[in-house]
Symmetry: C2
Subunit: 379 residues, 2 copies
């Protein structure tokens, strides 16, 4: 087991000088405590939520490569105007990677830890872009026999986010929902959940190709925000489903406000009396991503019963508590190869993750390009 003693770990550092540096550092693998295990990480996805930490506010079109083949280094410039938002992480070398999967290669002394020896487990907890990860037994989820690390690498973020959306919909009293950037991996999962659970879902996409992806997996309501009839199409789909809550990955621009406007129009199509405050039905948009970094623009043409806010998985899980969280996780495991299957377009090593040609693809956050890192690939 000598090879376990140290391993490469990806680090992201933003310097006070305004430079982003992404590098691989050799770190000692901690000796596991009684209730801990060491996992050889074999699969860890690049989610949009990882990119925020990996590249921060840096302009990746300025990225330059240096370093060695084994330990490449990427540098890029952070625009002056964006440095304020990076203030809290300046000059701190930060590990990256929210989730992943791999094989337990070393365990602590507890029975629970020992029971995991040799098992393929899914993990959550950060610092997954590394060859080895030491973590508590409670942060691992053993995968069913016959499941590969690649199949279990995305067990948490996308599946629980998609389930978090339908759960939030129910808890806040809505009966159907809308989703933007809806052809994403996450969006496809959400479609499968909604089809299975009989929930009305309005998919909002930005191209015909994305609409096709969703139609092929059986999506019932797909509207294209680049179509000249978008507002009417969206209103009709909202009337048909009754959706009064939306989850928005785009963030910037007019889309959140357009959704609220169409919801209000849809509701008023069945309203009986005029209220100058608009309908009394609460309309909600939760912004959970930032594919468009521009400001959100709300023209408030949708009455007074509305809300827009940020939505994140971890605060949601805190709010619903451990028992409910475990129920959602169990569903993910049960349907890992169907509802919650992820598809990747590339599998790369840690070194390849720091290649300019790959960065140019995954940093774009384009729908359809999805990367999986295998930190022990070719290692």
């Amino acid at each position: 087991m000598s090879e376990v003693k140290t391993g490469l770990q990806l680090r992201s550092l933003i310097k006070k000088s305004g430079e982003l540096e992404i590098s691989l550092v050799s770190v000692p693998t901690p000796e596991p405590g009684a209730d801990e295990v060491v996992v050889r990480v074999e699969a860890t996805p690049i989610n949009p939520s990882d990119l925020g930490l990996l590249t921060g506010a840096a302009d990746m079109t300025t990225a330059k490569a240096s370093g060695t083949r084994e330990q490449p280094v990427i540098t890029a410039k952070v625009p002056e105007a964006a440095m304020k938002s990076m203030a809290a992480r300046l000059d701190e070398s930060m590990p990256v990677g929210n989730e992943g999967a791999g094989v337990v290669v070393r365990t602590g002394s507890s029975d629970a830890a020992k029971a995991l020896m040799g098992k393929t487990v899914a993990m959550i907890g950060g610092a997954m872009y590394a060859q080895y990860r030491c973590l508590r037994v409670s942060e691992c989820m053993p995968l069913p026999a016959g499941t590969t690390a690649a199949e279990g690498a995305s067990c948490f973020v996308n599946p629980l986010t998609a389930l978090g959306m339908t759960e939030t919909m129910r808890r806040e009293g809505h009966k159907a929902l809308a989703h933007t950037a809806a052809a994403s991996n996450l969006g496809q999962m959400l479609n499968k959940i909604c089809l299975k659970d009989g929930i009305g879902l309005v998919n909002i996409v930005r191209s015909e190709e994305q609409a096709d992806i969703l139609h092929k997996i059986g999506a019932k309501h797909v509207v294209d925000s680049t179509s000249p009839t978008f507002m009417d199409d969206l209103t009709n789909a909202l009337v048909e489903t009754g959706a009064t809550i939306a989850f928005d990955a785009i963030g910037g621009g007019k889309l959140a406000g357009q959704i609220l406007t169409c919801m209000e129009t849809a509701i008023n199509k069945t309203a009986k009396a005029y209220s100058r405050y608009g309908s009394s039905v609460h309309k909600q948009v939760y912004i959970y991503g930032s594919l468009d970094p521009r400001p959100v623009e709300l023209n408030r043409a949708f009455g007074m019963a509305w809300g827009v806010g940020g939505w994140l998985l971890f605060p949601f899980l805190m709010k619903i508590g451990a028992t409910e969280g475990a129920r959602l996780r169990q569903r993910v495991i049960d349907e890992l190869k169907t509802t919650f299957a992820s598809h990747y377009t590339q599998v790369v090593s840690l070194q390849e993750t720091l290649q300019l040609d790959h960065i140019a693809v995954y940093a774009k956050r384009a729908t359809g390009a999805k990367y999986l890192i295998n930190p022990n690939k070719g290692g």
Copy 2:
């Protein structure tokens, strides 16, 4: 009582042609039912919330006067772009006036109704810009002896809105609040409530004159959004008070986002670890007015734990229920001449309400100009 049989009532009509018409119509006074009373309206304020119905989306700089001295008519153009938001009220002649006070001049047969004969009562329920108003006993609140109709005319909207803000603050887990357009009648009430109840309040104003108004009534934290040091001043006041919720009467532009940004900066001044999602403390701005009709612009430089939404008094009262609502109303009556005293700059008749020179003043919604209508003035 023959004079009670009919009375003038103000009406606002927006025609499909895009013309606003404000007029006075002579309407028969209903015979009160068993549990109803007829009130001679002697005082009814023009609140910002009334202007929304009174002038709608019309451009009041285009207003023209016609009609007779006794029954004047005002017409004005509604801009093409704003007609969509008026769709639900087109070609409906609508009475105006949320609240008011007056003397009970006729009653139904029930004991509760009879007990109000000759009493001065405060009223809520719309259509108050009228000489007579027939309404249920439950919609009247008898004023204490020695209280005039003018003193009791604004018992509901502003006082309950101000109390609704501190109640919402408490119910949603915040310990202090911020308020914009803070030198308004409502803002002054809110200051008096917060000083009395020991609640931290950050007042945001748009001029030195407005700051002076608040300093004179003992406001502790007043910041001026037109000052070059506004963002720093606001952040400091938020640190000192710990305010994480704001009520915003302005609506459009960048202010709501600036408040969230300063809250986030204030919270992070005491934060211990970096989170790329920003602080986990929920920051909320409720928009309850629209002094600035432009779109809301949110640059999202404030993490993910935030919300912006509409806030209205009546849904709030529905939510807290009858018992809590009665408790708030009783406080208003108890402190009507102190905490909840309203000040008016003009008292006008119904006819004067339709004079172009008065409209030019009250339609501006300027802080410091507050109109009270006495529908029976000179009548």
